[in-house]
Structure formats: C-alpha cells, structure tokens
Symmetry: C2
Subunit: 290 residues, 2 copies
C-alpha cells in the first residue's frame, strides 16, 4: 500500500516472444521497467486488478512514457467495470497520447472466471473478494502438440511445408492436427492479490507454474485483521498453493509493518515447501517442459 | 519527463521548524521522501507548477500515503487555475482521505507574480511561458529585526516578557518594533522549471540563496530546440542566475538524452561560477546569516 525505498509497489511484467503484458501499475512501475531494461514500446496489454492507488497510480506516467518512446500501436487495458472511466480520469495529466486505448471491462458481479485471448496470452479473470471490485488473473501460454514427421511423410507432405503445419496453421488441404499430437502442457502464471482466500481461487490457479499471491501478514496473529481488511496471511497463500497443486509460490504485497517477511518463510514452507518471499525486480524464465 | 533509474522526476521539499512544503510531485516522489526520512504527516503545503504528468503523477499516491500515515489536518495545494479539477480527477484512485484539501489557484493570464503566506513560508508564484499554464515559485522566510535589550530596559519591560516581543508578537501596550531593529535578510529559494527564459524571471528570483532552475539541454546546439519546446539550456539558466544575483544555482530537469550533464558544467561555470549539477536527493541546509 505504501512504497518503501527497497520495496516498490506490486506489479508483474510478462514477456513472450518480445511482446509484453503488465499486471497492475503502482506508482514507480515505469522506474522499475527502466531498470529491468526490457524496453517499453512492446507493452501491448495492461491488466488492472482494482482501482486502489497502489495498483494503478503509475498508469498515466507509464502511458505518457510509452507515447514518448514512440509507441503508436493501440494498447489494450483490462480491468473491472469502470476501468475506462478511471483511466480517462487519470489521463487528465497525460491527455495527448500517440496511440489509442482499448478497454475490456469484466464484471465482478458473479463468481465465475472470464477468458480472453490477448495476442499469444490466454488471460482469465476471476472476481475476488476485496473492499472494492477486484480481479485475479491467470495468464496461460497454450502449447501445441508434438509434430510427428512419420505422419507428414505418410501424407506425402513436402518437407518445405512442414513448418507451416508445425506452427499450427492450415495449408491447402492439410490441417495441423493431421501431423501434431495432442496439445502439450503449456505455461501458466497466476496473480492473486487483494482478496480473502475465497474457495474459487484453487480451481482458477490450478497447476500454475508460478503462483504469485499476496501475503499481507506473516504472523497468523493477524489472521483476523486480514479478514477485516480483505487480505491474506502467508499461511492462507500457502494453503491455496497446496490446494491448487502449483509448482512455485511467490509471496508479495506485504504490509509496510512486515519489515522482515523472510522471518515467516520457514513456517510457511511447512505448509507449502516451494515458497519464495518476493523482492523487487525478481525475475524467472519459464520454459516448456518436454 | 521520463524517470530514469538514477534520476527520479524533479521535486523540491522544504522543511522549516518541522513543517514541510513540497513543490511538484512527479511519480516516485513519495519513494524519495521515504528514503529521505523527514516523515510525511507534517507536509502542509504542496505547490504544483503545471499539470504535466512528470510534475504531478505522484500526487494521488502521496495523498493516500499521508492519509495512511494518519494525517487529519487539512493540506493546502497551490497551482495554476484548474488545480482543483485536476486533483479531483486524480483522486479517483484515492477517494477517501482522512483530511480535507484546500485549493489555491493562481491565474497565469498576466505576467505578474502573486504572493501568499503559507504558515511561515512566504510563497510567490510567477506565470511562466510553457506549452500549458505554468507557475514558477519563490519561497521566502522573512526574518525579524535584531532584538535590542537596551531599548527593552529603557521601556521598563520586565525580562520575562522579552521573548514574546522577540517572537514578533505584541504584548499589552508593547509592540515588537519598539525593541526590534529593521527586518534582516531572510532566506529565499526559487524554483523555475518548464519555461522559456522570460524577462520577468530575474526580478522574481532576485537575490535567492538557492535558485533551482531547469536546464533541459547542456549543449547550446539545442538552444533552438529549447525554444520550440519551451525549455532552457544550461546557459539560459546561468544567465538568469547572473541577472538575478543569486547565491547558488542548481540545475535540474535534464532531457533523458542528456546522460552526462556534468560534461557541460565547466562551460556553464564560465557564465555563473556557483553552479551545481543536480542529482537525486540532493539536500542543503540554509541558515540566517548574521
């Protein structure tokens, strides 16, 4: 909620084949992006969980920078209903951008997830339980089945056209499923913050390679406070990780009063072993597993 | 305009007898304030030069933090006409603050400075010449005349009441001017950014102990570009410093393309010797001179 000198506000940047997707944009996000050095202009998608300043205050500055860096291509923003109104209010200090904005607003009225393809990212949004409308996100990278050259040979497909089918595209009378096996396990990253540990979360984040989850409080003594503030403890997050059979859990969004989150790591690992305490500019490369 | 990893956006924080006044609030200002460690809740006044994101995007986050740190006292904001509208738009992401906001808006229609007392700070605002309405600020700390004990003795004022008169307050039939000499030289800090070097500036910043001025471009080759963009070169700033007979000049607000501003320092010192190239979190203590 408060940016600290060595703890900027929570935000997640995903990069796939050079294109980028950002989740949340607290104050200072663009400063971190500069330090990261992945560039700016290829940022195509921005997902916002909710409209508290600590998750969105960096947006007008970031959009202005995108424009100053020369972006002209439309940027798609996704968030709860009201997104367009909020962003247009914030744009009062960045009125002239070199690109247009597209808003996709999801209702948080019911408890079911919505799904949408954004470029190569498959994005699901789940209504959460916070003091105002809030969405959790799962971003998946689907993976096509394995190419079987024997099938291609049996079908007499000239070798120079194999690549088209391998990329999942049809060609003349040939369809990719003729030469590809069943879809393989892709990649999945989930981002859940500012919510109670509601029972729709495990299904939603199930099987994530990386599950990034808020841990507002380290000490279970704050469990009750978390319930009042619509926030979670480390144990809450770890229990979700167990139920969802995720590969790894990153804890983030610590209370400013929680000065040494690593003090609670050992206890949390007793619930879910592959737990990591998040820190600024933490990065990870996820690869398809064969 | 763009925050760089080691170069946050320009902002000035003044502290006097524990109370604080901020000039401009670009994205990340509250992060720097945390690093500085002067606290938050005593921030009484915020002056905004103009409504470009790089000078104001940090405002909603800062106001929210002030509220979270427990401030309940009104905060006064000063800026060009339209300030209230801009701040209320930005407040869409920080709707509930624990304190009220007071807006003081200055017209930028004419070329004359306006003056106002904010607590112990005497604030003057000068309309500048930028691509949108913009104000420069001079903040002065007036200093009372020297106390003359001989006058107090001659007037038979009991010694236990001297302090009241020394503080500039009247007491019974006694007035401070009866025992104080003429007002002495106070302190003056001026902040001029985002403008052409217009001819009203030297008078306005005259005699500043500290003159903080934009130097968008180091190389005089960019003089023409500066005129198009309503910005100044180092030489422009140094010439203003000479004309205004200031004590010291701090250069700030460098173009992102100006990666090594110190390369142009020597040449600038030939115009105005006491020139300093600004850097993040630079601080200076100014004291009354006897």
């Amino acid at each position: 909620m408060l940016p600290l000198p060595s703890r900027f506000l929570s935000s997640l940047l995903l990069r796939l084949n050079g294109r980028m997707l950002l989740v949340d944009c607290g104050e200072g996000t663009q400063i971190t992006m500069r330090e990261l050095g992945w560039g700016f202009v290829n940022l195509d998608f921005i997902l916002i969980t909710h409209f508290h300043a600590d998750h969105v205050a960096g947006l007008p500055g970031l959009l202005l920078s995108l424009s100053n860096y020369g972006r002209t291509q439309e940027v798609t923003l996704v968030g709860p209903v009201g997104l367009g109104q909020v962003v247009n209010s914030l744009k009062v200090i960045a009125p002239e951008l070199g690109f247009s904005l597209k808003f996709i607003e999801f209702s948080t009225e019911d408890k079911y997830a919505a799904e949408i393809m954004l470029g190569e990212f498959r994005v699901s949004a789940l209504p959460l339980s916070h003091s105002l409308p809030c969405l959790g996100y799962s971003i998946s990278i689907p993976r096509k089945g394995k190419f079987d050259p024997r099938k291609a040979i049996a079908l007499n497909i000239p070798i120079e056209y194999w690549k088209i089918l391998q990329e999942g595209k049809s060609f003349l009378c040939y369809k990719p499923e003729m030469v590809l096996g069943p879809p393989r396990k892709g990649l999945k990253v989930s981002y859940i913050t500012d919510t109670l540990p509601i029972d729709t979360i495990p299904d939603f984040v199930f099987g994530s390679d990386l599950f990034i989850c808020e841990g507002m409080y380290g000490d279970e003594e704050y469990k009750e406070k978390g319930e009042t503030n619509f926030h979670m403890t480390f144990a809450d997050a770890a229990k979700l990780a167990v139920a969802a059979e995720v590969e790894q859990l990153w804890l983030t969004h610590f209370s400013p009063a929680l000065t040494a989150p690593e003090n609670y790591l050992e206890r949390t690992k007793e619930i879910f072993d592959n737990t990591v305490v998040g820190h600024d500019r933490m990065t990870k490369t996820l690869k398809f597993v064969d």
